[in-house]
Amino acid sequence: MTDNPSGNTSREGELAGLRLVPKTDTTYKMKDFKSDQEVRWCPGCGDYAILAAFQSFLPQLGVPRENIVMVSGIGCSSRFPYYLSTYGVHSIHGRAPAIATGLAASRPDLSVWVITGDGDGLSIGGNHLIHALRRNVNVNILLFNNRIYGLTKGQYSPTSEPGKITKSSPLGSLDQPFNPVSLALGAEAGFVARTVDSDRKHLTSVLRAAADHPGASFVEIYQNCPIFNDDAFEPLKDPSSRDLRLLRMEQGEPLRLGPDRGVIAGEFGGLEVVDVDEVGEDRLIRHDAHREDPGYAFALSRLDRPAFEHVPVGVFRDVRRPTYDDLLNEQIEDARAERGDGELAALLAGGDTWTVE
């Protein structure tokens, strides 16, 4: 349990992010969250694994199916809502965070999830994403990052590596990519995490932590596109190399990378990956996602370079502050408590009036 400035308290086993959502006694199964729609992603797409993990995770929320809403933008990942039996909106390119903001701010009794991708969330919708994060609206934003444009058939995306050869960059992309985790931290996000499509256990644990967080939570999910960017994350998936490259962050545990390496404080507030034997176990940093100052989480996010040498996964930051929707609804409650519910006739006659007989 962390310090909780919003005053939210959660009962045993209850997720704090769902504090205002009704509970259910219904025991859902994974199949209860499958819609009747045929899933139409390409064979081998990482989205299948994420969908399956998500469908099997939803019963854990313990809330009625009708109080869950999926909001997406445009792109391959944004078809997600159609495949779930909850309420859903498949909206417009990049605008899902804006639409979800209005929904969540006016309906605190809903569990609202935004499904977006690297193009949808970071390119055309970058502005909405950063503002939703800083406002801390109670939504969970899942960004499927496959580092390519899939639905438009293979152009480079804002997370593609520089020099990437695609249909729209035959001589190589000139763009410096975003690091989505660094971006979210810079946008004042209170909850930022990263996981991988193929690791269902890790993915599920991160989803649960995101749902537990009151306010905006941001989860980057590395996702494979077998058609236009196959094996983009292979070094993190290959059983022979993944344990040496994945830095699994666990709250309170030393940051270790495989059997030999670990993370220590470096110069200028940065972090360094070193051989544990050279520095000693004691110098390893114990992970603390609850640090108020985002500097540490940001330094963690920068460890992903050089590419795939050491990639942190898990929760970078989990710091609670009052949510936008709580504050907005409090203002209404306070105004009503102070001066009563508004009365229309009195409002209309509220200026300087005069009467004509």
């Binding site: 809403v69 159609y82 009794d109 009563g340 009467t355």
Partner: protein, 616 residues
């Protein structure tokens, strides 16, 4: 010695000065005094977009025009009878609008060599004879204000700032205005600043006393209260009336109001106003941009709120993508576009009617929606409520086209009886409507063609909406050619059928023999009505009709158009309604179009109407 009091039936006064001179406040206070006295009135604020343009320059001039009368009036007046000019720039910028013989009250203290040179006067117009055709009252407004405040602790600079209150006091005396309202207004405005309050009250009183004692003003004027129909009145601007209409729409439908908006001139005051009314359950969300404003509103609508967004032309452009999604998802959404001069940034503080075609056709695909337009500042209340009614009943986005003139202009408003306002039934879906307990989100009401509206939290009705074409009943994604054709036609038919739910277009033709019809829409109602009155007073016969509903049109519009030999359509654009009428009804309407950023002048329009009447 008691001064002479002269009776007048109407006066047009224009206060003009630097943007920093407080002319809007002065005009507003004089308006409130006039409203509480019981005159009919109409106002036209006119100010630069710059918050403080360089002092003493022509672009920095801000003015406020007020027309008040002992009878029913409909415009702020073509030309001022009285100009209050606080400096040479204000005189130069406004002189061209004055008829010969008009009264000019100038603040002589500002007529220095430097100020004159700044606006290109090579000689002082107060002495060079160029104002001989006018009744000029040269008054040292600044110096007299400073003298009146000699005993205060204020610096000279602060004392000078009260000169607008001196001018207001003088004009209040000239027109025998009640002053209690202004005094209590100042007391509340400067409650925490006793020095400033005392200075303003003193300057206001000094201005009044100056009028009463000086020999420069021999006469004061009286304009008797107007004989308006019985009821309780208040003065109201279009933006305030719009905000109230939206709150009324929320109350009458039982839907909590959610406003997603981004500040933009001249619509921001609606956001400001609604943000004050939390007690009504109003949620206001100042978004990161226009797109997010309307996006959040649509998200709230999906959740069962009354989603509203407010904007002006440049913002409307950005919102169209989401408005298209609202057309496709068939969710209620109210979009208020307070039109301003365009294209692009255009002239933010000036009025225009140039967004009609954008509202109707500015989206991709066949994307029909209802469009409504208020005719006067107070009509914004009724039309905002009507927009809400249509949006909720027909599950559709509705665009209300206000404009900069209506937004900032004001007039007396007879308060409606709340019990007589229409009740709007949201009629949420709560039960499955398909086979085997399924829910078909696009299974329509046979009469209205509206689809059911099931909000999240309703068990058993979970469904997915989106921008992709959907099956005509289930709402599932569908690319079937025939289904798309059906859905395009059904969406159109739903909007077209709203015409059955609208009152027929009323035509005013007292003679019953008019052969010429003048047809307008939106904010030109006042100018057109004043022009029609002029023509009729001079013996001309002209019929008048005004459209509140621009889409769909009233069912009898075609018949009305074909009943006249000629139809004149004045618009502050290059003929957008005219284009629609010609296309729809094959009637060769005669457009009259000016896009100066200002309302039409009644005299000019009357001339146009008379010219058409005289054709043969």
């Amino acid at each position: 010695m008691a001064k002479q009091i002269e009776q007048l039936d109407r006066v047009v006064i224009r206060f003009a000065g630097d943007s920093g001179d407080g002319m809007q406040l002065t005009g507003d206070r004089f308006t409130q005094e006039t409203a509480s006295f019981g005159n009919d009135l109409s106002t036209l604020p006119n100010f630069p977009a710059e918050i403080r343009a360089p002092a003493g320059t022509l672009p920095g001039v801000s003015s406020f025009q007020l027309h008040f009368a002992d009878h029913d009036i409909v415009t702020p007046g073509d030309a001022p009878d009285v100009l209050v000019a606080m400096n040479p720039a204000a005189l130069k910028a406004n002189l061209g609008d004055l008829p010969r013989g008009a009264t000019i009250i100038v603040n002589t203290d500002e007529f220095t060599k430097r100020s004159l040179a700044k606006v290109g006067y090579t000689a002082d117009p107060l002495t060079d004879g160029s104002l001989d055709g006018y009744k000029v009252s040269a008054v040292g407004l600044t110096s007299m204000t400073v003298a009146a405040l000699a005993d205060s602790d204020l610096s000279k600079k602060d004392a000078q700032r009260a000169k607008n209150m001196f001018a207001l006091g003088l004009l209040s005396w000239m027109y025998n205005r009640p002053t209690e309202g202004t005094i209590s207004f100042l007391k509340s405005k400067f409650a925490g600043k006793p020095d400033i309050l005392s200075a303003n009250l003193t300057a206001f009183q000094a201005g009044w006393n100056f009028g009463e004692t000086t020999e420069d003003f021999a006469v004061s004027y009286e304009i008797k209260p107007a004989r308006l129909s019985a009821g309780t009145y208040r003065n109201i601007t279009g933006n305030l009336a719009t905000a109230y209409g939206l709150i009324a729409g929320s109350r009458q439908s039982g839907l909590p109001l959610f406003l997603g908006s981004y500040p933009i001139t001249p619509a921001s005051d609606i956001l400001h106003e609604l943000s004050r009314h939390k007690r009504f359950g109003v949620r206001t969300f100042q978004a990161e941009d226009e797109i997010a404003g309307v996006g959040a509103a649509l998200g709230a609508s999906f959740g069962g709120s009354l989603g509203v967004t407010t904007t002006s032309g440049p913002g409307m452009v950005l919102k169209q993508e989401t408005v298209g999604l609202a057309v496709m998802t068939e969710l209620p959404l109210v979009i208020i576009d307070v039109q301003r001069a365009g294209p692009s940034t255009g002239m933010p503080t000036k009025t225009e009617q140039t967004d009609l075609l954008m509202a109707l056709y500015g989206r991709n695909g066949e994307s029909p929606l209802p469009v409504v337009a208020p005719a006067s500042p107070s009509d914004c209340f009724d039309v905002a409520l009507e927009a809400t009614r249509l949006a909720v009943k027909y599950r559709t986005p509705v665009v209300m086209l206000s404009d900069g003139y209506l937004a900032n202009g004001s007039e007396p408003w007879r308060l409606p009886e709340v019990s007589e306002l229409p009740v709007i039934e949201p009629d949420f879906a709560t039960e499955p409507n398909g086979p085997d307990g399924s829910y078909l989100p696009y299974l329509r009401d046979e009469r209205t063609l509206a689809r059911p509206w099931a909000v999240p939290g309703t068990p058993g009705l979970e469904h997915r909406l989106g921008g992709i074409e959907k099956h005509a009943q289930s709402g599932d994604i569908s690319y079937t050619p025939g289904n798309h054709d059906l859905m395009v036609r059904t969406r159109q038919a739903k909007i077209d059928a709203i015409a059955q739910d609208l009152p027929e277009l009323e035509v005013s033709d007292p003679s019953g023999e008019a052969r010429v019809l003048v047809l307008g829409w939106g904010g030109t109602y006042g100018s057109i009505t004043a022009a029609v009155r002029r023509v009729r007073r001079a013996g001309g016969r002209v019929a008048q009709a005004h459209l509140r509903h621009l889409n769909p049109f009233p069912v009898n519009l075609g018949e009305v158009l074909r009943s006249y030999d000629r139809v004149v359509v004045p618009e502050i654009n290059l003929g957008q309604l005219a284009l629609l009428l010609r296309g729809r009804f094959l009637v060769d309407v005669i457009g009259y179009n000016k896009v100066r950023g200002l309302p039409f002048k009644a005299e000019e329009l009357a001339g146009v109407l008379q010219e058409v009447i005289d054709r043969d």
